[in-house]
Assembly symmetry: D2
Homo-oligomer: 351 residues x 4
């Protein structure tokens, strides 16, 4: 009866899958029509099989929905994938081949030369790659990936700086929330009263993904941005919200005052302002010296906004700044929902 | 009866003062002979007046010692100062003028052109400034300062790199423990499940103090090291231990492997090995990818060691590394005790 | 233009005052028309003077409102008081005398023999005391108090049990959030990796207030309930949400199963169901063995619901259970807003 | 060459096993002569196979010791068992049968009618059961168990009260540290900014073990103490140290003052004072209203002492008090070491 586009969630019982549910449950354009899960949960009502990790209970609309196997015979043609890294490459390809649009939060295809690594505010033109992807891989559907949650936390300010001054290099130190490790994730004995200066593979993602995201789509190819990133990722005793401390060097010099003005005056492209999930203000510059902070700023714009602050002259490079984004919202589920909204506006969603 | 050198502690009731007590209580060379405190505590037994913040109780040896006013008529000629910043400049000068050797943990004199900013492992020759200080200021005694606790956490590895390769620049992000803010210090409502990306004045100290510490004493002057430091200090929900993530550029290029070998082979100068408080190993390089960690490494060498790890090639500069030191031990009280031990060995303690 | 009842907030800049603002900002019946604050903030726009402790920023509607002195010449006749304990007795009496209805979150009048200690779900008939209060004290207005936040966390299940089985006694141990201590409140050095088994005066409030709340209003007098409460309050490293572990003995014996059924079938009185702030479900019984939990349950019903669980036979008394309520919402600001809504429905609000 | 008694540790690589190592490494009577571990670690040097969870590194003395399979052909006849619950029943019986003295930290035999549940300060005469155990089960060796860590935290004050006034009943609420759940144990996402009011099986242990511990050994039987315990266990965000809030009723009435005097004057039996691991003061009564606290008191007496405080009249029963003990030291490894020391003094150790 509904005019909404039916969508499915792959691996809906995990922590990212649960976030997908929360962001799709009252969506004006999309309607959850299928949930898949592990063997343990298949055939049972979602509300029974899930170990609900978010506050409160699973929404009534999905609690009685029967969990289906993750096989490419699902009714909805638009799928959000919360699959674990180990399964995602093979399973997502099967769905793409079978004609599904797969909006994935998993990592395997992020750096694939034919898969858009998409953040609408950063590189919405990258979706032009989709036909090439289909041709190259012989898929009727396609895959679009969102970025790693730590990359996400820094990439919009980097993009804004890069398109204005040309980014030469960035030295990044992140302080990342425990929810970024999923569930059960980080043992409390490891992280209480402590910091772990290592997250497997994260430094590499932070050093490569921004170059694809800030790069250009030209004739069936992604040309990576030519700046360099040095990153060191830390796990900190914070529940949600990845924060990064960044020092940047520009090709064209700019002062801290100019950068602050640039950040304060940045405007979201018109086409994105009407996406239903897009918050009123998606890029916030705070002038207080002690902001942004994870607990105080992670939920800005319903957890979809970037909050930036602390811009000042860097004694070594040009400028330092702090940036934060909510890792499980902006950096995961909600990011993919925004991607789907963009694809719909661009006329690229199947059905 | 004791042959030990009598010492006093200025502002012995605060959190740093309490640490002084713990590190002097069984000292083989020094003996606590005077404790001073605020008006509220003067004249009362130390154990009654103090709000003991460390584990357990105040040691029996000091619990019944009567707290004295902070006036320059104390019997011991060697004083450890835990005075707050607001009082330290004036009060410490009065004691130095009156002939006391003041080993201070306070900040006012750290960047003074005639006061040694001393960390024995880094710049033990800087004590040669003392006669010039006395002449310049007309003091019979003198002041020697220890470094800010955040500076301390990075400066020994910086010094080792600087004297080997010549340091060009360092980009530093710190994650600092709540104990660095004293007591009551950081409200729990501000820091639980959160990070505060700002500590007033700390960035500046991190950017200037290492240049004095790694500089040279030449003919009555300190020549600052000519590298640049960019620092951004964060308060994190960790009780003790300041950790820093550092990216360094050298004048003379070096690989990560060379730096690791340099760190692993570094030797403490002989004269320092016999200082009674000096731990067996004061500079530790850990090879595990996820070390150092505040909770696991802060107490190494009785809280006096630096623990360094995570050396790897930096895509932007030469090398990245992590460094940690215990902020209230190495970075405060114990640091001053080590300074006093060095001064004794150098024959510079009064009496 | 608005038909809403204008209201004021006394001491609007503190942490409780900020909560009042958030709960009145879009209220269908009330409209914030006055904010008072300390000398430091009087005459300045609220948004400038306040140290905003909640997430995000002060709402635009109040950010430019000029802070007024806390004097009884305010335009609105209905006032919510977030005054500190030290000022509340005298100041609130002045306002009551001058004809204001004072809905207070402060403690001085809670156990006053003529002031209703009001929680609508527990004792809405206690407002019948108001005319006696006015007569007794010669006030044109009146004072109605909400309960201490720790009392609040246990009192609705206690009331339900008391009216059904007759409560003989309750042995209570609370685990209370740091936000209950206000700001700056609990130093992080005291509470991280720790529990403080003492909150000044709290045990006594927990042992007396439930007896007034569960008592009867009879002919100008409050007859206290005759059960006994033994309470021991602990501060725990939790941001929001007071939890209590309770063992109760009844006058008329009842099994755990009967109590569970009682809790599951409890119905809110009709008159309260239509209060605009009242959540759909204000009393929740959870059957999972590991619930309620502060982080997962404190926000139930917009932070206004009680969540109860863990009912089982007690080897010593009759039954044990766990109860939780949000201390700064249900236990403070929102509680007073609900009280005001009840007073309006009862026709007892001035103007 | 050493005259020390050689001992082994079963399951030495887990978190309890690591604690055993730390407490035996410099023991004056015992010497670690064998370490067993899982298949993954057997045959490798301990230092390589272990995931060391304690601060610092594994001691040099054991780092190169080769991990052996957990089979009853170990050289030392005295074994400390850190086996997981699932294996302990069967494996420990095999060792006891083969003539080993098994000092176990595991739960299966704690409530066994022929196995002493031993805490020297509480029931050292219970070792008289050993010959009956051997006869009943046909074992050449024997098993002695230490108590659950949460039971341990309350049982010494309970014992002192019971033997003086006769305990009628106790209502207990515990706040237990995350280390009690082992490693990886409690996920940080579950416990940060939260409390979990449920630890599987713990309430039952708290309600039964104290009755065995405070009971009497009579003619080959343990007569349980006839008091009742009601317990509710909570997991709290504290690293180490289990704290309990207790309300007790006596058979013979006593005031808070009398109980405080009793606690302050309690004396350790002479025979126990000379056990090498026994701290100078094993039972500490603190008079400050806000003590004991886990972080400040858990390490008292090298983590072996009970710290009690907060004695006051209970409005429902006779007296309330707080008690704390270090769960992984007093409540686990060190407890078993003390048991072994007692057995040696009693002449009950093999070899």
């Amino acid at each position: 009866m509904s005019n909404k586009i039916p969508v499915g969630i792959l691996a809906a019982t995990g922590s990212v899958g649960q976030r997908f549910i929360m962001h799709l449950i009252d969506h004006p354009w999309f309607e959850i029509a299928a949930l898949t899960g592990s063997d343990r949960t298949v055939g049972r009502p979602y509300g029974e099989g899930v170990n609900w990790l978010l506050d409160g209970d699973p929404p009534a609309e999905v609690a009685n929905m029967i969990v289906q196997p993750t096989e490419p015979n699902l009714a909805p043609k638009v799928l959000f994938s919360a699959l674990p890294t180990s399964d995602a490459r093979e399973v997502e390809a099967k769905f793409a081949e079978a004609g599904y649009a797969v909006l994935t939060n998993a990592s395997p295809y992020r750096m694939d030369p034919y898969v858009p690594l998409l953040i609408p505010e950063v590189n919405m033109d990258h979706t032009a790659m989709i036909p090439h992807q289909q041709k190259e891989y012989g898929w009727k559907g396609y895959i679009v990936a969102n970025a790693n949650c730590s990359t996400t936390s820094i990439v919009l300010p980097m993009k804004i700086l890069h398109e204005t001054y040309g980014l030469h290099s960035a030295v990044v130190t992140t302080m990342q929330a425990i929810s970024g490790a999923g569930y059960p994730g980080v043992p409390s004995l490891d992280i209480m009263d402590n910091i772990i200066p290592y997250i497997g593979g994260e430094d590499g993602k932070l050093e490569s993904e921004p170059r694809k995201l800030c790069g250009k789509y030209v004739d069936g190819k992604f040309e990576f941005a030519d700046f360099k990133v040095s990153a060191q990722a830390n796990r900190v005793p914070v529940i949600d919200g990845h924060m990064a401390s960044v020092s940047v060097k520009f090709n064209q010099s700019a002062s801290a005052e100019e950068v602050i003005a640039l950040f304060q005056n940045w405007q979201l492209p018109d086409v994105l302002q009407n996406l239903p999930t897009m918050p009123e203000q998606v890029f916030i510059y705070r002038t207080e010296p002690d902001r942004p902070q994870p607990r105080k700023d992670r939920d800005s714009g319903n957890g979809l906004a970037w909050t930036v602050g602390g811009v000042r002259a860097c004694p070594v490079n040009d400028v330092r700044f702090m940036s934060i984004a909510h890792n499980t919202l902006r950096g995961a589920a909600s990011g993919s929902v925004l991607n789907a909204e963009l694809l719909k506006v661009q006329g690229l969603l199947p059905g």
